[in-house]
């Protein structure tokens, strides 16, 4: 949880620097303590200080309770969503088995989905409680976007669930270490979700970006048209909304990793060490294996976050109707189609 929170803060730096590098700029590098700048890494700190010391403004006609509650709801569910994403296999220390997963849930996927969907309540509350028409519009858009995105997310995950036969994310991650179609490829190719469910991967990533409500799906904010659901917010409450966006980015990256990129799996790395399909074996102590797996998970998440940032700084914003059309007429039917195809293939392979 702490790691995720720090990721959220760090992402503001990543966002600034990566966009700067993509655009031939240097990016934020001025914040310094005693003249030490460390590549602008102090900017998140300066931001937090600024946000915390700014005036906490409450609009006159706002619904006081909902207005104050909204950012907390937003951040809470964004943070909570990370709980059931496994970041490593079981760790055995002094005979105790520790699941490298905050909460071991049999219905982990449903839990993450529920948390992601509940996050939109914060935005709707913010939009409603601000007593501001633009905020209300932003909240409405957020709700509409969330529904159209969550449907596609849920439907695209169904294919993964069908292939691996579990709703437990740890089980899914574990199953991705098994070889893909051993009757054809031997043990050469691990059964990562991106290989078994390529269409679902694209759909999930697209819908996931929509769920983070960042550009290209940032109609709820849309700085240039309506300011969005957080128009009336200031100080750290505004910061918490911005934070929630970044946290959701981390959650989506983590989910994509766990479901499609093999989770904490490293190809050919079993619990006893590397076992390459050409017969070579490198035995490793279990603690090192677990450490490697956690590092692998983090690396995959970081790479995915990089990709999400790249998308965010490459594509222009969708119009509201375009996003709706994409969600309802593009992603959702394709996800249903994916379920059908997955079912047919599973039937042909005799697994169903």
């Amino acid at each position: 949880m702490f790691v995720v929170l720090n990721f959220g803060g760090l992402l503001t730096w990543v966002e600034r620097k990566q966009s700067a590098i993509m655009q031939d700029r240097l990016g934020a590098n001025r914040a310094s303590i005693f003249g030490i700048r460390i590549l602008g890494l102090l900017h998140p700190l300066a931001d937090a200080l600024k946000m915390l010391t700014k005036e906490d403004f409450l609009p006159a006609r706002a619904d006081r309770l909902l207005f104050k509650l909204a950012p907390f709801v937003s951040v809470f569910f964004a943070l909570g969503a990370f709980a059931s994403i496994p970041f490593g296999n079981t760790l055995t220390i002094f005979g105790r088995e520790i699941q490298l997963q905050a909460v071991t849930l049999n219905v982990g996927i449903l839990y993450v989905l529920a948390m992601l969907s509940l996050g939109v309540y914060g935005l709707m509350m913010a939009g409603w409680a601000s007593a501001n028409n633009y905020a209300l519009l932003g909240g409405q858009r957020a709700a509409a976007l969330m529904i159209s995105a969550e449907l596609a997310i849920g439907a695209s995950i169904m294919g993964v669930v069908m292939v691996y036969g579990s709703l437990n994310m740890q089980d899914i991650a574990r199953a991705q270490g098994l070889p893909l179609l051993p009757q054809f490829f031997g043990s050469w190719i691990p059964a990562w979700g991106i290989l078994t469910q390529p269409l679902a991967f694209v759909l999930f990533l697209t819908a996931g970006i929509a769920a983070t409500k960042r550009i290209p799906f940032d109609m709820p904010e849309g700085e240039s048209e309506i300011i969005g659901y957080f128009v009336e917010y200031s100080g750290m409450k505004f910061g918490m909304f911005a934070m929630a966006d970044f946290l959701e980015t981390v959650v989506i990256a983590g989910m994509t990793t766990a479901l499609f990129l093999g989770g904490w799996q490293i190809p050919y790395l079993g619990s006893a060490g590397f076992a390459f399909p050409w017969g070579m074996e490198v035995p490793l102590p279990p603690l090192l294996v677990t450490g490697l797996q956690v590092v692998a998970f983090l690396t995959k998440v970081v790479v995915l976050i990089w990709l999400l940032m790249l998308i965010r700084w490459t594509l222009p914003r969708f119009r509201y109707d375009q996003a709706m059309r994409l969600g309802w007429l593009g992603l959702f039917p394709l996800a249903i189609l994916n379920i059908v195809i997955t079912g047919l293939v599973l039937l042909m392979l005799g697994k169903a």
Binding site: I21, M22, D24, L26, L310, I311, T314, L315
Partner: protein, 212 residues
């Protein structure tokens, strides 16, 4: 029904048509090509940054931006910057208070009070020579009008700001103390702080930043 406006908006060449083909409407390929472009740019710049900071290859620059207060673009020698009054060899102003610049100034920002010069060969000398830079439009007419080449706009100083309108008025002494800019338009004299400019709160930092 299509209006003539719409027709004229669609060129004959389908490549530049505003109508999207199926592949473009599917969007995924276009997204991927866009991501390839920006991603390639990212890695190219990242490599240059790494060369620059880690391997100290100073010629490799990942950014085209100029870090303004620390580095500046070279200014053109023709640049019209803060005025200065040219001095005679004895340090007195070359200005003879002919009022040409005050007359030609379209912004009426020059104020001259003339007085007798101790040297009988020189007719007059300005007792006061104030330029209100808050009004000045930097047209350079004063420089062109001057028959004595006594006022120039070649200091290279562009950073003069004040917290008050009074602070924008530069007096004779301040203008006389300025030197012409060096090569590349780098100012050689510090930005004068007139006596009537109120002390800024962040004085030391501000002074060090305005210095070139």
């Amino acid at each position: 029904m299509t209006s003539p406006y719409q027709q004229s908006n669609t060129p004959a060449d389908p490549k530049h048509s505003s109508r999207l083909g199926l592949a473009q409407r599917f969007y995924l390929r276009e997204v991927l090509s866009g991501l390839t472009l920006t991603g390639a740019r990212f890695f190219a710049n990242m490599a240059r940054h790494t060369l620059h900071t880690v391997f100290r290859v100073k010629s490799a620059r990942g950014a085209v931006t100029i870090q303004y207060p620390d580095e500046r673009r070279p200014y053109s020698p023709r640049l019209r910057s803060l005025h200065r009054l040219v001095r005679r060899e004895d340090g007195s102003p070359r200005c003879v208070a002919c009022m040409m610049c005050e007359t030609v100034c379209p912004a009426h920002c020059i104020y001259i009070v003339a007085t007798e010069h101790p040297n009988p060969e020189i007719e007059k000398v300005p007792e006061r020579f104030d330029i209100d830079l808050g009004k000045c439009v930097f047209c350079g007419y004063c420089v062109e009008a001057c028959p004595e080449d006594a006022i120039r706009m070649d200091t290279g100083i562009l950073e003069f700001s004040s917290f008050s309108r009074g602070g924008m008025i530069y007096t004779k002494d301040a203008l006389l103390a300025l030197e012409p800019a060096g090569p590349n338009g780098v100012p050689t004299s510090p930005v004068p702080i007139p006596a009537d400019r109120p002390m800024p709160v962040i004085r030391p930092a501000a002074a060090s930043r305005t210095r070139a």
